[in-house]
Subunit: 238 residues, 2 copies
DNA sequence: ATTATCTATAGATCTATAGATAATGC
DNA sequence: ATTATCTATAGATCTATAGATAATGC
């Protein structure tokens, strides 16, 4: 019996629910997985409740609506990459090395993430005001990668590409691995001759994509080996 | 009143509906757009009917269920790229040039496509048997790109990468542009300094991505200009 | 007392069908 | 006659709330 949209009779606003903790986090985790595999619209609160080991109404104790669960997921999606980039920038080093490290890390993390970033982005695009933070952070990530590319062009190590277009496609390519890398049990695209060994490890994919991207961007491709060595050294220090 | 799942009382099987024609095609077009922006699960038959200028029950005259509409979309998704690749292969030329042409074309087409390929893939992954054709064609596309890369390695023009991993990431990167390239009116990620001119044309993006990909793959990057010229020449002949 | 859970259920909405009616083609 | 559409509606299911009850903390 949803009354006038937006009314909130059942749950006392004076007593806000905790923002984390076992049951709440579990709901977010379960919902992420379901949204990723079935999509947001096809996932019901019942399913989320069931897989969280709660009754549907208990889920409403933590979240006022399905949209609110989505909001919790969307809120943290960009943080992973942004935090990592901040750490990489703090480490210092040439732009090319920073880029290599970011891409390699991003791909590995995204392969393992339970969200579907692309699904999340689409849903966030549908309600720009509501998910303003998502778009702000997303724009920030874009801007920072753009700056990195621009810095690499300025110091002469990268070719003179359009830094913004490069940033957009770097991040998009990173996220694209989610579209074919799926955890065991779901569909994989396999090799022609050897359908049994169709899987690549996230590390392998990250290494490949970082190498390809820098291989295209570096002015002198002969410096690629050095860039990778330097990235390895800094990553090992973490 | 959906009776036993799978029963089909209301629509006489002896009188199958046409497989194309104005109202049917319009439904597919409208549904593609809605699935892409809202997702499959959040799109209702009512919405599809309304935007097609039909009553909901008229939609059921052409499609037995929402899944059947999806099936019609899924069925043709891979054909565009497969047909294009066949044409490119018929034209002949070196592997590197064929790859360049395929990527550039793919990106341009995908930017303009009303489907969300990634959404479609996810839904197809959920019902592998039902969408067996989709997966067969998708695998075929993958195999053919893999062969192209392998041929380029064999003739010495491309670096010795893993051809299958390369094929997977080439196709994924192509599709990734859909995640940030949206038609006017929806959200765009914009430039830091000039939020007004945030848009790239599909041709520009296709050119960029084809250049980046080949720039990373070609053994001698100095041959890139020649590859592009040859691709231009052959594309102009179409 | 407060916090967390449950059962029961209201009301909305959704998919799909039944059956009537209008439009078209022979 | 056949093809294409409509109105009306059945039954399922979904979101969200009300209100009861159990568990926890002071």
């Amino acid at each position: 019996m949803p009354p006038a949209k937006g009314s909130r009779i059942g749950r006392p606003r004076s007593n806000p629910r905790p923002l984390d903790g076992p049951p709440r986090d579990e709901v977010v985790k379960v919902a992420s997985r379901l949204f990723a595999s079935q999509g947001f619209g096809s996932t019901t609160m019942r399913q989320i409740a069931e897989q969280s080991g709660l009754s549907p109404s208990s889920v409403y104790y933590y979240f006022g609506s399905k949209d609110e669960i989505l909001e919790a997921i969307v809120a943290e999606v960009n943080r992973v990459s942004l935090d990592r980039l901040a750490a990489i920038n703090a480490d210092g080093g040439e732009p090319a090395v920073r880029l290599f490290r970011l891409i390699r890390f991003d791909v590995e993390v995204l392969c393992r993430l339970p969200y579907d970033i692309n699904e999340i982005s689409r849903l966030a695009a549908l309600q720009e005001e509501r998910f303003a933070t998502f778009w702000k952070e997303r724009q920030q990530l874009n801007d920072e990668v753009e700056e990195l590319v621009a810095a690499g062009i300025a110091d002469g190590s990268l070719l003179e590409v359009d830094p913004r277009l490069a940033a957009l496609s770097i991040l998009a390519d990173d996220e694209a691995v989610q579209n074919w890398f799926r955890p065991v049990g779901e569909h994989h695209l396999r090799g022609r001759d050897d359908p049994a060994t169709g899987d690549y490890a996230p590390e392998e994919i990250g290494e490949f994509l970082a190498t390809q991207t820098l291989g295209a961007l570096l002015r002198h491709r002969s410096s690629l080996a050095r860039v990778r060595r330097e990235a390895d050294r800094l990553d090992a220090a973490d």
